[in-house]
């Protein structure tokens, strides 16, 4: 088992190195200095700025220094857009905000969609199942943007007119647990609505597979109640695909939701990252994608190891 883990880690190192390099190379296709200089800048100004930002060095040495700072967890590099603020401070500011949005959304989506999927799978082919599947497909066909715009309009704007005082914030953010519902509950609900269609369909397919298994027939034959079959027998057996799906979405919790954060003015990671990309703020983009890729690869390895624990055949490959 130990050898298996080590092998997996070694196998993923080149992938990690490539992700960091790919991101650096992509960012440098466009000249970042031009965007930060005035119209009357001379060639000498450009050169000076390049030296100041460390862009005059060859790509390889920039790459090595970036890798060095990531592997030593040194995020003290200054960001380009706000002088005096380090990348680490920016991260510490925005990641908790994103987590406050994505974590409740993931929990709520998963619980709700598993319950609906089980009901749907148990009534397979009947009108209830068909209606649920129909709504899932319908929900998947509407653009994310439309959910956000109308969610904001109905939930924040119309509701405020109706009740007379603001129930949910339209735009803006304040930290603190007492402010959570005001600023983040509406985005969480929108996010859950969007994800429900996809998740329900996936879990339904998993459950349908399980309803045909022999152990369900056995459980029925020995007289177990419907509830017990659904929540004890079936759910436990469907746990592996469920865990896999959740594991894969874990790294994305940190990225937050670019669109939701932009609409509601929530200063989470997605919003910070999008602003950084659009303004050519390399330190933020590079460090952040490097961290995300690290988390992604760790979760891949963890999933592989979990598989190997459950299924000894995997280890042989």
């Amino acid at each position: 088992m130990f050898a298996f883990t080590i092998r997996k880690i070694i196998y993923n190192i080149p992938i990690y190195l490539a992700v960091v390099l790919l991101m650096m190379a992509l960012l440098r296709i466009r000249d970042p200095v031009a965007g930060q200089m005035g119209k009357n800048a001379t060639a000498a100004d450009f050169a000076a700025k390049r030296v100041e930002l460390g862009l005059n060095e060859p790509l390889l040495s920039q790459y090595v220094s970036l890798l060095g700072s990531i592997f030593t967890f040194d995020f003290s590099r200054e960001i380009w857009l706000e002088p005096g603020v380090s990348v680490g401070e920016k991260l510490a500011e925005s990641v908790p905000v994103s987590l406050a949005l994505t974590l409740p959304a993931l929990c709520l989506t998963t619980v709700l969609s598993i319950v609906i999927a089980m009901v749907s799978a148990f009534n397979r082919g009947r009108w209830l199942d068909r209606t649920l599947v129909f709504f899932a497909v319908l929900g998947m066909s509407i653009s994310f943007l439309v959910y956000i715009i109308f969610g904001q309009y109905l939930g924040a704007f119309k509701l405020q007119q109706l009740v007379g005082h603001p129930v949910f914030s339209i735009h803006g953010y304040e930290s603190g647990i007492q402010n959570w519902a005001f600023y983040l509950l509406l985005p969480v609900l929108i996010s859950v609505t969007v994800a429900m269609g996809y998740d329900t369909r996936f879990y339904r397919a998993v459950m349908v597979e399980e309803t045909e298994a022999d152990y369900i027939t056995t459980a029925r034959a020995k007289g177990a109640s419907q509830m017990k079959i659904m929540f004890v027998h079936m759910l436990r057996n469907a746990m592996i695909p469920i865990i896999t799906r959740i594991m894969i979405t874990l790294p994305f919790l940190v990225t937050g939701s670019i669109l939701l954060e932009q609409f509601f003015g929530i200063p989470g990671m997605g919003y910070t990252l999008l602003t950084a990309i659009q303004n050519g703020d390399f330190p933020v983009v590079e460090v952040f994608t490097a961290i995300f890729a690290g988390l992604f690869i760790v979760s891949l390895i963890a999933t592989d190891i979990l598989y190997a624990l459950f299924d000894p055949r995997v280890r042989l490959q």
Partner: protein
């Protein structure tokens, strides 16, 4: 050929697909969209037509009258103002001839008559201005109707065909600049179908070839392919799309090509134009190239994974062993025996990728990184959001974009499900 096609239609899977009524309706809807896209590509709706001002700003759809305040705005907004400006020019007759509002032209009367109509309209306007709120003042309604009738005297009467075109372009109202929402929404169909087809075709071919090669050859080929796709999937999809779109948005292909060919910067513009034309159209800066690059880099991964898995299964089948024993080359086996047997998966993935590309295009365009210089549903939604349409209760622009996109994506979702049911029923 025809016989092969008809016998393909009689296979068990196709019979199952054809008996699925929802899928057949979806197929008809998709065919309608594709035909529309082809018609627009052939010039049924030009890009100019989408940018032409056809009426007052933010007209509601279906020729709805709106509130008296809105009607007052609409009556005094465009044509009256344009005529007034033209009358102050040195040569009013010439200036009047140049006024265009969609199909509307100023009628062919002497300048004095036009001046008289404008004066009459202004008199009624002054009377209407005495009222603070027309909505609360029903007594003013006859005056308002008189104003509308007076302004209408400025137009030359339209002949039948022009009137039809004019009415059609106003059917779903106008946006904040007075451009036709219907024309812009329909033109976006072409953009969406074009991006969807190009992206899905490219991604499916690349993904299938790489996936089949990785699965069949194994060894280092497999390692390299898996390495490439894990690398690309280790970056969040939307972030990768945004970064690629950002990187290539400011990328001046024309300048690069000119530099490569050694054309000096001060060379005559005709030469520059010719070189621009040779490589991807005149307007390289506003082209869809960044969007294609961004989608091409990410969308092949899913297909590649699926085809690789299927190939791993297929290559242990007896008929492949038989082909190998018979002495066929690896490429022959790959292209004639393996890839055709993954055709059903390729078809399903093609349909899924089309949906993905269309949805991502809308989001990228919304963020200002996708389609530029031409209409797109994403741009329509962004405009509606920026101009406060939703808050003021004007849903025509965002509604048109949403409904057109919803029907297309729903049709593809239903078709993908039906394809999956028919060809790959064991899929989870």
């Amino acid at each position: 050929m025809i016989q092969r096609f008809t016998s393909f239609l009689q296979t068990r899977e196709m019979r199952k697909l054809r008996s699925n009524k929802a899928a057949m309706i979806a197929l008809v809807a998709i065919a309608t969209y594709v035909l529309l896209a082809v018609a627009i590509m052939c010039g049924a709706i030009t890009r100019d037509a989408c940018d032409t001002v056809v009426g007052a700003n933010k007209l509601p759809g279906f020729f709805a009258k709106g509130s008296p305040e809105q009607r007052y705005e609409i009556a005094t907004a465009k044509i009256l103002k344009m005529t007034q400006t033209a009358l102050t020019q040195d040569d009013p007759a010439e200036a009047l001839k140049e006024i265009k509002l969609g199909q509307i032209r100023i009628s062919d009367q002497p300048v004095e008559n036009i001046q008289a109509i404008v004066d009459a309209a202004n008199r009624i306007k002054d009377e209407l201005n005495k009222s603070d709120d027309l909505d609360a003042d029903p007594a003013m309604l006859p005056k308002l109707i008189e104003l509308e009738a007076t302004v209408a005297q400025l137009h030359a009467p339209m002949n039948g065909w022009d009137r039809t075109r004019h009415n059609a372009s106003l059917l779903l109202g106008t946006d904040i600049q007075g451009r036709s929402i219907l024309l812009r929404g329909l033109y976006s169909v072409k953009i969406a179908i074009q991006i969807g087809l190009v992206t899905a075709t490219f991604s499916v071919i690349l993904g299938a070839l790489l996936g089949a090669a990785a699965g069949y050859f194994g060894g280092w080929v497999d390692h390299v392919v898996v390495w490439i796709y894990t690398t690309f999937s280790s970056i969040p999809n939307l972030v990768l799309l945004v970064v690629i779109a950002y990187a290539f948005t400011g990328f001046d292909l024309e300048e690069r090509l000119l530099a490569i060919f050694g054309v000096p910067a001060d060379s005559p513009s005709s030469l520059r134009g010719t070189i621009g034309k040779l490589f991807g159209g005149l307007d390289v800066k506003n082209s869809l190239l960044p969007v294609y690059l961004a989608f091409g880099a990410t969308f092949w991964i899913g297909t590649c994974r699926v085809i690789r898995g299927e190939t791993l299964k297929l290559k242990e089948m007896e008929y492949i062993h038989a082909a190998r024993t018979a002495g066929f080359s690896s490429f022959h086996i790959l292209l004639r025996h393996i890839i055709p047997n993954t055709a059903h998966l390729i078809l399903i993935n093609f349909s899924l990728l089309l949906i993905g590309a269309i949805k991502s295009e809308v989001i990228l365009s919304f963020l200002g990184l996708g389609v530029k210089g031409q209409p797109s549903w994403g741009i329509m939604i962004r405009d509606a959001g920026n101009n406060g349409d939703v808050v003021s209760g004007f849903f025509w622009e965002i509604g048109t974009a949403t409904v057109l996109m919803f029907v297309l994506v729903l049709a593809f979702n239903i078709l993908s499900d039906a394809l999956q049911d028919a060809f790959d029923p064991k899929h989870v």
